[in-house]
Amino acid sequence: MFLCPGEVLWGFAGRFSAVIYEFSGFDVKIFRKNVTTTHAFRTDYMHMHCYRQNIHRHPAKTILLNFKETIMNLRAHWITLAGTALVLSACSTSPQEDTTTDIATSGEAHTSQISTTSTVSTDSSVSSPVILPGSMEDFTLNVRDRVYFDFDRYDLSAKATETLDTQVRWLKRFGNVRIVIGGHADNRGTREYNLALSERRAQSVHGYMVGLGIDPDRITVIAYGKERPAMIGNNEEAWQENRRAVTKIDIN
């Protein structure tokens, strides 16, 4: 199995989604904010979750394990949703068929939600039909999924609460969606202290959301300490990027 054009590659360095544009090689082509950049495919992209277009989730492993075998001699070209053309030639299964099957079994794929949402297509160049409202892709693309913290702090900044306000609005729109809040710390602290600190950060987000009326039963909190950096690096930029709490749709 290969990456199919139209598949949404979610969580690129944790920051945005990408839809496979073309699968023919070993570079990663990213089109974002009207700029196309090409990166060499890195093995640490392996963990990215991958979602098939219009469909619910696909565990990244299925696809990326196959990647492992082909990575050395293939070049993959990916482009974001802003891409205009979806080249379907490399795909062995028809996305249309998959769409039908999976939507039928997906509890989140109510037509009513599709008609009520206006969060998709905020950018005119985005090809809106591929994103299911209330889905993780929808959330990731249309709502900022994370807030940042200062060193050894867990209080929410004004910018953070602004982000959380948009998350709360989204969560109120899709009242059946459950979420996981993951708290994280940079590596400038010891493991156990950072576990406690990251739990505090996630709980700051949890408390804020519950304060705005989100049912606490919809929220799971996980403390990751310094185990899952969003940015690999030993500099202020990476540390700031890693001191965060990330909201994800609970796919379980």
Binding site: R42, T43, D44, M46, H47, D152, Y154, N187, R188, G189, T190, R191, E192, Y193, L195, A196, L197, E199, R200, A202, Q203, S204, H206, G207, T220, V221, I222, A223, G225, E227, R228, P229, A230, M231, I232, G233, N234
Partner: protein, 448 residues
């Protein structure tokens, strides 16, 4: 000339090792050969460790001899308290166990201490290993023992002999016959695969306990059983688990709200002390492992974590930011009388009480650097032993003379284990098959 006296000392382990002491006259003199290990830079003691079999014996015995003497030499050399006399400079590389050395020959090549031994394979497949330690200047025997075991236990015998030599010459407790449990790391930095692994103190007998499907952290040995406690994300949320090394049985500590982490056994092995964080407030709890009754020891809005019992079980050192920054505190084992003990600049975390009770090791973070240090339990006499870009998590050798910890590197290369003497000398990397973090030193293996 001399009459060997056979002393039955004890019967040991499930592998049925018999321990005998062999005594030669003349007896010990008052002024003893001694390595002063309180001075890390003191001159290493030259010692000759001969082979344990002559070239007249069987190939099996010669191989065992090479292996056993090799482990002993390696153990002693790694301490840097000893320099091993090269075998090429020795007039003879084997001396029968019932012979008294010609001390003059050993003095000439500067070997102040000299070890010779014998390995014998018996008809039933077991082996018998005896050795003698001599002071070649005073011409006295300092120690002699003989051990029997299954052939497969040869490595343990080598460690036990190393311990006997080390203890006799330094006056310190033994530590070579011990294990390290640690977290073996692989994979990309933002998705590390972390597996529990165990190995002998010198890196031998390496094996994995978990398959890497769930991230595991911070393992610790039980002081009394072949059991480990650690943190695992196997349920998705971090919780404390117990692992029985013998049976491979895994068990979650309890069905607790929030997250549980930072587990350690009590010195009697009957309880576990750990942190539980619920709604952003982590507290320290103690749970009785027999009836699973749980008691809270801290009650504070701050982060309270990384608890560590004093060896007598009367007090608990822990980490808290109740004063604004992470610092070290000590409280009674029932949670009363918490008092801050660290007052230096920077952040102090991961207090670990020495098995001798006299010191608390810690991680310190200041000015972009991490340090491993020790202080008295009252916070006095802080000494920093090691520093680097990122290092943390000290664990004590069973005799309280060596600290192991792990380092990460600014260039992003993987974590590695390091050890350093309490003196701050002999900093060295502990070899592991791959990247490694969160080491925990076992107690000495039991001699039953």
């Amino acid at each position: 000339m001399f009459a060997p006296i056979l002393l039955a000392v004890s019967l040991f382990t499930r592998s049925l090792i018999l321990v005998f002491g062999l005594m030669f006259g003349p007896q010990l003199a008052q002024a003893q050969l001694r390595v002063d290990i309180t001075q890390g830079h003191s001159k290493p003691l030259p010692i000759a460790v001969l082979d344990f079999a002559s070239d007249q014996t069987s190939v099996t015995e010669q191989n065992l001899s090479r292996s056993i003497a090799g482990v002993i030499r390696n153990n002693l050399a790694n301490t840097r308290l000893f320099t091993l006399t090269p075998t090429e400079t020795m007039i003879k590389s084997f001396l029968a166990l019932d012979r008294v050395p010609n001390f003059e020959n050993w003095r000439i090549i500067g070997a102040q201490a000299m070890v010779h031994g014998r390995v014998e394979q018996r008809a039933d497949g077991s082996i018998s290993v005896g050795f003698r330690l001599w002071d070649s200047f005073r011409e006295i025997q300092m120690h002699a023992s003989e051990y029997s075991a299954n052939t497969s236990a040869w490595r343990r015998i080598a460690h036990i002999i190393s311990d006997a030599i080390y203890s006799r010459l330094t006056g310190e407790g033994a530590y070579f016959d011990s294990s390290i449990v640690y977290v073996a790391e692989s994979g990309p930095a933002d998705m590390r695969i972390k597996r529990l692994a165990i190995m002998d103190q010198d890196g031998a007998n390496h094996r994995f306990f978990t398959d890497g499907s769930a991230t595991v952290l911070t393992p610790r040995f039980s002081p009394t059983k072949r059991e480990i406690t650690y943190l695992s994300y196997s349920s998705g949320v971090p919780h404390v688990y117990l692992y029985d090394i013998g049976t491979g049985r895994r068990e979650i500590l309890g069905n607790y709200e929030g997250i549980t982490f930072a587990p350690r056994f009590s010195p009697d092995g009957n309880s576990l002390i750990f942190s539980q964080s619920v709604h952003g407030n982590s507290e320290i709890f103690i749970v009785n492992l027999h009836n699973r009754q749980r008691r809270r020891l801290t009650n504070n809005n701050a982060i309270d974590t990384s608890p560590s019992f004093s060896p007598d079980g009367s007090r608990v050192a822990f980490n808290s930011d109740r004063g604004g920054k992470p610092h070290l505190y000590v409280m009674n084992a029932d949670g009363r009388n918490p008092a801050r003990i660290s007052f230096g600049k920077g952040a102090y975390t991961t207090p670990v009480w020495s098995p001798r009770g006299d010191l608390i090791a810690f991680t310190k973070q200041r000015g972009g650097k991490f340090y491993i240090g020790v202080m008295r339990p009252d916070g006095s006499q802080e000494r920093l032993l090691s520093q680097s870009y990122l290092e943390e998590g000290p664990t004590w050798s069973p005799n309280g003379r060596v600290l192991m910890f792990f380092r990460e590197f600014r260039d992003g290369s993987g974590a590695k284990l390091y050890s350093v003497d309490l003196t701050g000398f002999n900093l060295r990397e502990v070899p592991t098959p791959g990247d490694a973090s969160d080491p925990a030193w076992s107690p000495l293996k039991p001699l039953k």
